[in-house]
Amino acid sequence: MATESGDPERFEDVDWDELGGLAVPRRTLAFVASLVAYALLLGYDYLLVAEDQPTIPVAGWNVTAVDWLFLLTLLAIVFYGVVPLVVNRRLTVHYWHQFRKNRAAVVSLVYLLVIFVVGTVGTAFIEPPQLDTLAAYQPPVYSSVPADVPVSCAGEVVDGRCQGTWAHPFGTTGQGKDILKMVVFGMEVSMQVGLIATFITIVLATAVGTTAAYLGGYVDEVLMRYVDIQLTFPTFFLYLLLVYLFGGSLFLLILIFGLTGWGAIARLVRSEALQRSEEEFVRAAKGAGASTPYVIWRHLVPNVSNTVITAATLLIPSLILAEAALSFLGLGDPTVPSWGRVIADGRGDLSSAWWISTIPGFFLFFTILAFNFLGDALRDALDPRQEGGE
C-alpha cells in the first residue's frame, strides 16, 4: 500500500484488483481445526481400537458413541456459545444485569453448573456404581431401617435398626449400588441427553427456519409442509414406537429426540426470521455483495439467537424428563444408570427401602425446576424489546 507507516490507510487507496477471495473469521478457523482434531481422534477410536479395548488405556475409559457426540456438542457450545459472550463483553454484561434480577434463576444457574461439572468431569474420576449384594439396602446417613431389611448392615445396629453411614450417604439400592454414585452418574446421563439432543435440535431448527424465511417461495412452502407433517405425530408416541422398533440405547434415544423434536422451534425461528428479513440491513448486506449463506449466517442467525436460546433452555428439561420417564417405564437404555431407572427399581421396595425411589427423584425434580427457572429468566433478560436501553 502506498501509505507511510504511521499514516492511517484511506479507503480510496485500496487496490481492489489485488484482493479477492474468501475472508474467513478466526473463530471459524479455530473451530474447523478442532473439528479436524476431533475427526482424527474419532477415526482412531473406531478404526484402530478394538471393540472392547478402552480408548484411553491409562484411564481405562472406553469412549462410547454418546461420549463422542457429547464432546462435539461441548466443542460447539464453547465456540459458538462461550466465545461470543466473551468477545461481546458489553452485551454480555448487559444481559447479566437483567438476568441477575431473578434470584431464583441465579441459584438455578449455580446448581446447574455444579451438576454439569460433576456430571461431566466428576464421572471420570469416580468409579461407576458396582454390584454388591452384601451392601444392598443400606439406609441413608442419619436414618435407620429395621435390621432385617439389608442383607448385612454396614453401620451399627441399634435397637434392632440398622443405622446409615457416611460410606453410603444416600443409601444403596437393592443391588448394593451406592445411590450417591447413581445420582452422580445419572447427572451425566441427563446432561448428555439434554445437551446433545437440544444441540441437534437447535442446529436443525435454526438452519431450516432461517433458510425458509430468507428464501421464501417454493423452498419455504416445502420446508414448512414437512415441518407440519413432522409435528402431527405426537412426539411421545413417536418415541415409544421408535424405541419399540429399534431398541432403547441411549445413543438412539438422543438421536430420536434430536431429529424429531425440532419442528416447533423451527416454526418459531422462521416467524422471527421473517420479521428480520424485512429489515433494511439485510438488503444492505445484499447490496454490499454478500451471498445468501453469508447473510443468513452473519445477520439472520444472530438476530434470532435470543429466541433460540430461550427455546432451547426450555427444551432441555422436557427432554430430561422424557428420558427419565422412558427409563422409568423400562424402555430406556438398561446399561446406563439413568435416574428414571433407579426410581423404577425402587418401586417394589417402597415400604421397606423408601430412599431408593425418593432421593434420585429429588435431584431430577430440582434439575428440571432449575432449567425452568433459568429459561424463564433468560426469556425476560434476552427480550429484544428491552435491548436498546443502556
Binding site: 492511517p8 490507510e9 484511506r10 479507503f11 480510496e12 485500496v14 481492489w16 484482493l19 479477492g20 477471495g21 474468501l22 475472508a23 474467513v24 478466526r26 452485551l91 429489515e279 433494511e280 440491513f281 438488503r283 444492505a284 448486506a285 445484499k286 447490496g287 454490499a288 455483495g289 454478500a290 453469508y294 445477520h299 444472530p302 438476530n303 435491548e387 436498546g388 443502556e390
Partner: protein
Amino acid sequence: MSDDGAVGEERPVLSVRNLVKHFPITEGVLRREVGRVRAVDGISFDVYPGETLGLVGESGCGKSTAALSLLRLEEPTDGEVSYRGESVTDYDSGELKAFRREAQMIFQDPTSSFDPRMPVGQSVAEPLLVHGMADRRRRRGIVENLLERVGLSASDYDRYPHEFSGGQKQRIAIARALVVNPDLVVADEPVSALDVSVQAEILGLLEDVQDEFGLSILFISHDMAVVREVCDRVAVMYLGEIVETGPTVDIFEEPQHPYTRALLASVPSIDPRRRGEGVELSGDVPSPSNPPAGCRFHTRCPEIIQPEGYDFDQQNWRAVMDLRVRLEQGTLDLDAAREFAVAEGEATDPEAVTREELARAVRDEFSIPPELTDHRAERVLQDALSSLVDGEADAARDLLADEFETICEREHPDLRDTEAGHPAACHLHREAVEADAVRSQTPED
C-alpha cells in the same frame, strides 16, 4: 428519444432504458397470478459522471423500486441497465458482485438499515470483508479513518446502532456506502427520516463527499425543496413513469408537466407573492396494479385537456372529470349523496329525496355549478345525471364517456421535447406543437 443537455460529451456512468418492474399478485395454493403491481413501467434516464440526478415523486410512485431494480437488488422484469457501457442486466453472479463494489446504496430508514447486533464499525467494514479484505486490522484502520472523515470519531467503531442519533446513523450509512470506493451512489430518501436541521448537515456531507471523490449520485426524494438544493438534473416520476426530466434550474423555473407544477406548488415559498398558489390535486393516487388508461395522471390533472367541441371553464371540466372517474371506478355512492342532501337541508329524510334534489346533491359533491356555461355540455350532463339517479349508473357512465372523451384518457403521452428545451410527457405540448403546425398550414390567422 434523447435526454436533454448532457454534461459535456462524456458517456453516462449509468444508463437505464425502459426499466420495468412488476410484482405479481397471486391467489390460492397454486399461486395463480391474478394481477400485477406495475411499480415501475418503463423508465429511462442517464446519470453522468460527477453529477447528481434527482428522482422525484410522491410515495408509492415507484422510485425506490426503480433504485432497487437498477442495482439488481430486485430483479427487473424488463429493460436494460448499463454501467459504463456494460449491461448490468446481463451480468452473471461474479460480475454482479464486482458491480456491487462500483455501485452502492444509502437506505432511507437509518434505524433498520443497520444490524442491531453488530457494532457499526463492523457494519461499515462488511463490504470490505465481503470483497475479500481478510486482514481484520486493516479493515479496522480504514473504517476508523473513514468514520472520522464523515464527522464521527474512531472510537465509535465499537458502538451499537442504537447508541447513535438518526443523523449520526446516516453519516455511518454514507461511510458504509463509500468504503469500497464506488463510482455511483444511489441515495434512497437519505434525509427524509431526519429533522430539518440535521438534513442540512447530511446534505452538506453528501455534497462534500461528491466533490472530493467525484461520485455520481442518483438522489431519490419526494421533497422538492431538498431536490432543488442538491440535484443538477431532475426526473419527475408519477405512478411508475417519468413524466418530465431536465436541469434543476429549468424544471423549477419552467415546469412543463402539470404534475411537476403541482409538486412545485407545494414547496413553501418565502416570496409572499407566490404564496397561495397551492394546487390541490383531486382524487387519490391510483393503485399501481390498475393504472389509469392513457395518461396516468389524467384522473387528477388540473390541466386536463377538454374534449373536442366543448368549451368548459377549466375548473368545471375538472369537476365533471372527477365525476366521470368515480363512475368509471364504480365508487359513486347514491346513498351517500342522499345523506348529503339531507344534511344540506334539501329534504327531511333520505328516502324522501326527489330526483332533482339528488341530482343537485351529486353536482354539489363534485363542486359542479348548477349550470355549465356550455349549453350542449349542460344537456349531456343533465341526461347523464338523470340516468344516474334512476339507478342506471352504467348508462350515465357510457354517455359521459362518449361525449366527454378527452385525448388524455385515450392516448398515452410519451416523453417528447417541449418548447422549454427539456422533455415532458404531456399532451398539452403535443397540442401546442400540433396547433402550431395547423396554424402554420392554414392560410388565415
